[in-house]
Structures are given as C-alpha cells and as structure tokens.
C-alpha cells in the first residue's frame, strides 16, 4: 500500500449541441472548411456585440439540473482577458464569480459501492478558435488559425478535488459523459474535441488534511489517457516527495505517445486573466418557473433507466451495459417492447448483438438488425415458436438480409417441427437409428434420454420443438 493519497479535481469542457454558436447565428457543424462558419461577431471584428443563444442556456441548465446543481436565478458573464492568436477579441466571454450552476455531484462506483464526486460549478462560455501547425519547410514555422470553432458554446464542469485515483477519474468521466449524451446536450466525442478534460493532480501523505501542491495536466484526448496521466503524475510527485524534493505548481501537457506529462513552456502559463463583468451582456436572469419547466422536461437519466431495468428483473451488470448510451437503451427498450419479454431481449442484446458489435467496432446505430426485427425474433423464441438454436441461425441470416425473421423462417425452411405426426415420425427415426441408447432408456437409464433428445434436435437441424419432441420420444419409447 502506498503511503500517499492522490487528490484529483477535473475540469471538463463539453461542447453544447446547439445548431448555432453561443453569441451569433453561425453554424457549429464540425469539419467544415476552415473559416467558412464565421461572421463579424465570431471573428471579433470592431463594433460587434454578442447576443446570447437561449438554447445554450437551456442545455447548460438541463445539465445542472441532471447532476443536482443549484441553478442561479442570476448569473453574470465575465471577460477572461488573454492574448492568443486564435482568440479574436483578445478575451473569452465566460462566467467567473457568478456561474450558472453551483454544487451537485456525479455518482461513481468504487469497489462495488457508490461514491459521490461533488461539483464546484458549471458555467457557460464560448470556445476559442483553433491553431493549426502544419508541417512546413525546414526552419519555417507556419501557424494557421481556423475560427470555425470560435464562439461555439461550451459548459465547463468543475469537480471538487474528491477524486482519488485515475480509475475514479475514468469512471467519473464515463458517467458524466453518459449524462450529457442522455440529455442530448453534447455528443461526447473526444476526438472532435466536443469533450475535453484537464486534471489538477496533487498527492499528500495519507491522513493529512491539507492539499499538496498541484500540477495541471492538459491535452488528454481520451478517458484512458486521463487515467494514465493521473497515474503517471501521481508516481512522479510521490518520487519527488520521497527523494525530499518539492512539487512545483505548473502546467503539464500529456504526451500520449510516450506516456509522459511534460512541462509547458512557462511563458504560456503566467496568466492574469483580469476578469471583469462583461458589459455587453446583461446579467442572465432566469425565472424560477422557467427553471422548473426545464426540470419537468428532463429526459429519463441513466441511473433512472437502470433502476427501472433492474426492477424488470434484469441483472445490475446488464442494466449497466444496456444504459451505456441513450441509443443503446432505446434499442433495448424498443426490442423488449416488441418481444414482450425484457429479460430475453436483454440476453440477446448482451450476448449476440454486443458480441458482434464489439468484434466489428460498430455503434448501435450502425447495427444492421433494428429493434423491430430483433424484437420479432425474440418474441418467436419467447413464445416457443422457434428454439433458441433456430433463433441463432435466423440472427446470422438477418445480419446480411433485410427480411423479417418470420419471412426468413419460411424461405429458409427453418419452420419448427411441432405437429404431433412429424414429431412422432422423427422420434421413431431416432429410436431406430440408436437402438442401444433406446434400450438403455427403457431400462431406466434416464441420463441417456438427453442423448436421444440431442440426436432428434441434430437430425432436425434444431427445428424440432424442444419440449414436444421429448413427449414424442417418450411415447414412441413406451410403444416398443
């Protein structure tokens, strides 16, 4: 056991899924040609003024309410002044001493029990542009600036320093992202930068109350990298302390390729942001009635869906997996309602659907069998119209074909054998082909009966009705 404790606070920037930017009408679509989604306002030209996007406010408030924050009836925008080539006004409009949301928390799982990571605040702000450093000629450094991202709405979600390991940070991020995606306020895509995370990391001897000196780590482009970076930084700081040194407060950049956090050049971090209230925007006043209406319209959140699923008899673990994304839980809900059997639907998604998706790296949206067809299939199995084995054959066929399972059953000759005559005929064939085992069963060796059932299923390529073939076999065995 280490004698030290890691203390982590995370700052997550989430891009809100609004169609237009936070202070102008420009589109927020990702991937457009550089500097095509810009206007005088997001270019910061002389004389322009910001006009607040109401939808961005709504999305931020939804997030706050979903994580139990107190939504401020009055919050204030502030200018964060710093000079950077991709910041066209020379300041970022953000919130400072009066943020939109205060408090709240995110529940994570630690060793099988629930731990709440408190939130300090959630505030609204605009994104800056993007600096691009293309490979240039030898000795020539070129930087290009793309302002398509300038003015895209963000929320910054700041956690309390209550995270104690990289693994906890990972789980926190997974759950936070899940909430954002369920609310449909953020697409959660880290590669496209719609979710970004900075970590403040310090260590202290176990049992001590005071925090150690923290380092801020930036530039982590996946949840796994956040976990790795925190582990790396924890080790680094412990080594410094063990060797009698002192941790310096600094900003580090995570280098994922080499798995190390490297100091940023000090020039870039000595900021005095000179915050002051943004005079171009009035304080943001929200009617309590409006906040309540947003609360009433909140969609079902992941933990609420999970609770409902477990009440249907679905195991905790499965409920966890099925609620991973809103799309997956919707897929499940539709399948289950079609099938009329939630548990069986869950089994099929957990094993068959996810098995193939994991192998092929498919999202649930891309999966070729939609819930209506899977639901029909599960329904046929649930009602005993086909066996699970036939169901699997059908499932394989459905992956590449568009027909319904009912149509496929017919066209592929997979119709179950469940009429008395056919079953009796099948039973007779099996008994005739296996005289030895048949004799054993007649002599009372019950275990061999299963063998005969298996042979019948094999012979019928799984089409024989699993219970009725047993009856048929018994009856035929008694006859002879």
């Amino acid at each position: 056991m280490s004698a030290y404790e890691t203390v982590v606070g995370l700052e997550v920037h989430a891009q809100l899924k609004t169609r237009s930017k936070i202070f102008c009408c420009c589109s927020t679509t990702f991937g457009a040609r550089p500097n095509t989604q810009v206007c005088p306002t997001c270019l910061g030209l002389p004389g322009v003024l910001p006009v607040l996007n109401e939808r961005a406010v709504r999305f931020a408030v939804m997030t706050g309410l979903a994580v139990g924050s107190t939504v401020a009836e009055r919050s204030v925008f502030a200018r964060k002044n710093y000079f950077y080539p991709d910041l066209p006004k020379g300041y970022q409009i953000s919130q400072y001493d009066r943020p939109l949301c205060v408090g709240g928390g995110v529940d994570i799982q630690v060793d099988g029990s629930t731990k709440r990571i408190g939130l300090v605040r959630i505030h609204l702000e605009e994104d800056a542009g993007k600096s691009i450093h293309p490979e240039g000629r030898e000795g020539v450094t070129t930087t290009l600036v793309d302002l398509n991202r300038s003015g895209v709405p963000l929320i910054e979600i700041v956690s309390e320093p209550e995270i104690r390991s990289g693994a906890e940070a990972y789980d926190y991020l997974v759950r936070l992202k899940q909430t954002l995606v369920y609310l449909d306020v953020c697409d959660g895509n880290m590669e496209e930068g719609s979710l970004r995370c900075d970590a403040n990391v310090s260590v202290r001897p176990k049992g001590r109350k005071e925090f150690g000196t923290k380092a801020e780590i930036k530039n982590m482009n996946s949840f796994r990298n956040v976990e790795r970076a925190i582990a790396f930084e924890t080790d680094r700081q412990i080594r410094i302390l063990e060797s009698g040194g002192r941790v310096v407060q600094e900003t580090l950049l995570w280098n994922a390729d080499q798995g190390v956090a490297e100091p940023m050049r000090s020039k870039e971090e000595a900021h005095d942001y000179r915050y002051f209230p943004e005079p171009d925007l009035l304080p943001l006043d929200l009617e309590p009635g409006w906040i309540d209406s947003v609360r009433r319209e909140l969609p079902e959140l992941p933990h609420q869906v999970r609770a409902r699923l477990t009440s249907l008899g679905i195991p905790e673990y499965d409920a966890e997996v099925l609620t991973e994304t809103r799309a997956l839980s919707r897929y499940f809900e539709e399948t289950a309602s079609r099938a009329g059997n939630a548990k069986l639907a869950s089994n099929w998604i957990m094993t068959e659907v996810n098995g193939i998706r994991n192998k092929q790296g498919q999202s649930i949206e891309e999966f070729p069998i939609r819930p209506d067809r899977l639901g029909s299939l599960v329904k046929m199995i649930a009602e005993g119209r086909i066996s699970g084995k036939i169901g699997k054959q059908l499932f394989e066929l459905m992956l590449t074909r568009a027909e319904s399972p009912e149509e496929l059953v017919k066209s592929q000759g997979l119709l179950p054998i469940d009429d008395e005559d056919s079953l009796r005929a099948l039973a007779r064939e099996v008994i005739a082909a296996n005289p030895g085992p048949a004799a054993e069963v007649r002599a009372g060796k019950e275990r061999t009966f299963a063998f005969l059932v298996g042979q019948a299923m094999k012979q019928s390529r799984g089409r024989a009705h699993p219970e009725k073939i047993q009856d048929a076999l018994r009856k035929e065995l008694e006859k002879a």
Binding site: P40, P46, G47, P85, G90, Y91, D280
Partner: protein
C-alpha cells in the same frame, strides 16, 4: 446667409421638401457637398468623404420616392457619421493608425436604420482616436478646428461631427458619447448634442471604447432636428442585448408644449467652483428665462459627483484595455514590419496606437490586475452605483437637472495636449450623467464676448429625452437668433 435660408437648411425642412418632391435629394446633397468642398479641408472635419457615393445614395432616395415608397422625415437629409461607426465597405479608422485601410464588412444598426429612413451619408467625421479625448487633437490623421475660431478646438471626441454640423456641411451628424464626447463638442461648436439614456440606441457597429458607457447620439442645429435624428435610431435592437424597448420616438410636436410646472434642479455643489464667469452668467440667464416660462427652479445635490472623474478614469480605461486587445495587426488594419510574431504584435500596437490610447490601455490593464481589482475597478463600480443613486434621488424632486456642459469655452489647439489631467477635467460636468446612464443634452445658449459658443446641459430621468428637448426647445423659441452660423460657413472667413 440670411436667417431664412439657414432655417430652410434644417433637417426638418429639407426632409419635408424632399418628401413632397419640391426638392430632389440629389440637389440637397450637392448643396451640402459644395459647402463641404469649401470648408472641410480647412476645418479638418472629415477623415473620409466620397462625394460620388453620397450623390449615388441621394439618387437612390429620389428613385425610392419616385417608385412611390414612403420615407420618413429624414428622406434625403444628409447625415455625417463619426468614424467609429461601421458602414459596409466604407473606411472606418476611429481616428487611429491601427485601423488604417480597414473597411468593415457590415453596417452598424444605426446605419441600417438611417439608410432605411432615406438619410444620405456625407462621410466619416474626424474624432479623437477610439473616441478618447476632448479636443479631436488625438486623431492620428489631423486635428479638427472649431468653425467659430480656427485657432481653437471643436471639442471631442466627436469634434468632426459637431464642427460639420456647425459649419453647415451637414444638417445632422451622429457622434458617440462615453464621458461627454457628443455634448462637449456640441457646446464648443454651438450645436445640439444628445447623449441618449444608456440602452436607448443600439451600439451594434459602434467600435467599442468603454462598453458600459458608450452611446451613439445625434448632433443637430435645432431641438426638433435632434429629436428627428434620435427618433430614427432609438429603440430595441436584437443585435444589442443592452438596448431597450423603453426608448420610444419623441412626438416632435410635444417639444412645443413649454415648461410650465416643470421643476429644474441646479446642482449648486457641483457648479460652485472653477466655472468660467461667462458660463456662469449663461447658466443663470437660462435658469431665469425658464423660470419666466413657468418652470420652478430648485437646488439639488449630487454628493458623489465629485468622484466622477476618478471613477470614470478607472472604469472606462479598464473596459477599453479589453476592447482594444483585438487590434493585433494580424487580420485587418495596420501591421508593423517585424521579424517574428511577438515583436510584430508589439510593434503594431506600439506604432498603431497613439499616446493617449496607450496611456488608457495601461491604466485599465493595471486597474484590472490581480491584487488591484478590488481597490480600483470594484471600488469604482461601487462609487458608480452611488452616483447613479444621486441622480435618481435628485430626479425624484426635479424633472431635469440643469448645469453647464463644460467649465470653460473652447480652448486653443495645443493648449492642453501635454496635460492629460487638465484635458480630463474639461469633462467634469458631462461625466456624471455618463456614469449614471442618464440621458443628457447639451444645447447652445449664447456666445462669449469673444464670440465663442456656450452650451448648457440638461440631464433627465431614464428615457426622458423628450423632456430634455422640450426644455431646450422652450429656450430656443425665446431666442430666435439661436440659429447662429459661423462666419466661415457664410463664406465671410
């Protein structure tokens, strides 16, 4: 020039003549362009003129009227724009080197409204760089001279707008007022200048100096003309979240209703010291005349107004330091030649901004810095709240406050350029209303013995611009020689 002709040259009579098609907008434009041709270069009123574009605009107004379109009272009326107002494709420098060659790709909201109303732009008027100054000597290009005395300043920062109206180069002009930049030059040039209530006019497209104080305001030669221009630009604009629907056009006929029963407060505490004797005499004369018209004159106090200059010179530079951060030489305007990015930034800002602008950026940056914010910016904001309360208290007792616009008549060019503090003190009477966000009007009340204009100021309740103009109009009616024209405009100088 006879008083009759001068009177015909009001915006009101021009608009009426153009609307009724007695006179073409092109003819009006030619008249004013010719006059500007004779005087503008001597006065230094403009930074950019394009007579062809002005005539084309006028021709368009005639065509619209010809096609049966109904235009308002500003149809065919020439209007000058201060050079910190953006008009699509028209050079906009704010009197600064750093915006040399910059042409905005969009129109300010006031510009859109004036185009729609059929106004015709005469050009972009000179001003102190980024509206920082009280004499128009801080323009990076050239100073503007006072039409009444070419050795003297026209005031500032909207000196070009005030001078162009005084010299009859345009019947109307827009300026911007942050601490007095419409009112003080109006007083120095003998014209009307209105700083509307903060939020009454959209700031969209006004290049920002101090965003919580900036307001665009009209300059004109009569009270009624001032109302007409105000009416065309006031009101809520969805592009400016600080603009307000309470700002409504003023029915011009209401300006004729006199002041009987109105209460006018004079802040004796503020005007006790440092006032030029001729200005004091004018203040007393105006108070007496308005009392004769039936107004009640009473004393009011503005106990915190004496902290106005200190407060203003923390808040305005703080906001300016942030507003002016965007000028880096990369995307538009002036760029200094340099070896690398960082030194390019430094050289661009060092060479592109003038002395006064650099001074205020430094002041403002300092006032907002960690460790100083509470002592400077935050405290200034608290005092501002007290000043605002002073006004609302005083305006509970009085319908308007009457005080001089400036402590002295126009000073000479060069007289105060090396003494920023003396220059700042010239705004002692105009800054308090700016901090309070209250509407304030400067109107011409006479001339000094040496022939320099004097202006008095009226400050009112929020959105009571009409009340201020009504009081000024009452004074104007008693003084039919009020429409005075400088000798230069008559071709005598």
């Amino acid at each position: 020039m006879s008083p009759e002709i001068v009177a015909q040259e009001t915006a009101e009579s021009i608009g009426r003549a153009v609307q009724s098609r007695e006179r073409s907008a092109v003819d009006v434009a030619r008249t004013f362009l010719d006059r500007a041709e004779r005087t503008a270069s001597r006065l230094g009123t403009y930074l950019h003129r394009d007579p062809a574009a002005t005539l084309a605009m006028a021709a368009d107004v005639d065509a619209r009227l010809g096609a049966g379109e109904t235009l308002g009272p500003l149809a065919g009326v020439p209007v000058a724009l201060k050079d910190n107002l953006c008009a699509h494709g028209v050079p906009t420098t704010c009197g600064s080197r750093i915006l040399e060659g910059y042409r905005p790709p969009y129109d300010a909201s006031v510009v859109i409204r004036l185009r729609d109303a059929g106004a015709v732009f005469t050009g972009k008027t000179n001003c102190d760089e980024f509206a920082m100054g009280s004499s128009t000597e801080n323009s990076a290009y050239h100073p503007t001279r006072n039409p009444w005395d070419l050795e003297r300043v026209p005031g500032g920062s909207s000196g070009g707008s005030a001078a162009t109206v005084a010299a009859l180069e345009a019947p109307l002009a827009l300026g911007s007022d942050t601490g007095g930049s419409v009112r003080q030059p109006a007083a120095f040039c003998g014209v009307y200048g209105l700083k509307p209530t903060y939020g009454a006019v959209s700031r969209y497209g006004l290049v920002a100096f101090a965003s919580s104080l900036d307001q665009i305001g009209p300059l004109a030669r009569t009270a009624r003309d001032t109302a007409l221009l105000y009416n065309a630009i006031c009101g809520r604009d969805e592009r400016d979240m600080t603009s307000r629907a309470e700002a409504k056009p003023i029915p011009v006929e209401e300006l004729e209703r006199g002041v009987r029963g109105m209460k006018l407060g004079i802040p004796r505490d503020l005007t006790a010291e440092g006032l030029d004797p001729e200005i004091r005499a004018s203040l007393d004369g105006v108070a007496k005349a308005l009392a004769e018209e039936g107004a009640e004159i009473l004393d009011v106090t503005l106990p915190h107004a004496r902290y106005s200059i200190a407060t203003y010179y923390l808040i305005a530079p703080a906001e300016a330091s942030s507003n002016l951060a965007r000028y880096d030489g990369v995307r538009y305007g002036f760029r200094a030649k340099s070896e690398d990015l960082r030194s390019m930034y430094e050289a661009t800002r060092g060479q592109g901004f003038g002395r006064e602008v650099r001074r205020r950026i430094l002041l403002g940056t300092y006032a907002l810095s960690a460790g100083y914010y509470d002592a400077y910016y935050l405290r200034a904001m608290k005092v501002r709240t007290l000043i605002r309360k002073d006004f609302s208290d005083a305006l509970e007792r009085a319908d308007a406050i009457l005080l001089p616009t400036t402590p002295t008549p126009p000073f000479k060019l060069g007289e105060k350029v090396d003494d920023p503090l003396a220059m700042y003190l010239n705004d002692v009477f105009s800054i308090p209303a700016s901090l309070a966000g209250a509407p304030a009007l400067s109107f011409p009340t006479g001339m000094t013995r040496s022939g320099l204009p004097i202006g008095m100021q009226l400050v009112g309740r929020p959105f009571a611009e009409g009340t201020l103009l009504r009081i000024a109009r009452t004074w104007e009616r008693r003084n039919p020689d009020g429409l005075r024209v400088p000798p230069l405009a008559e071709g005598r100088a």
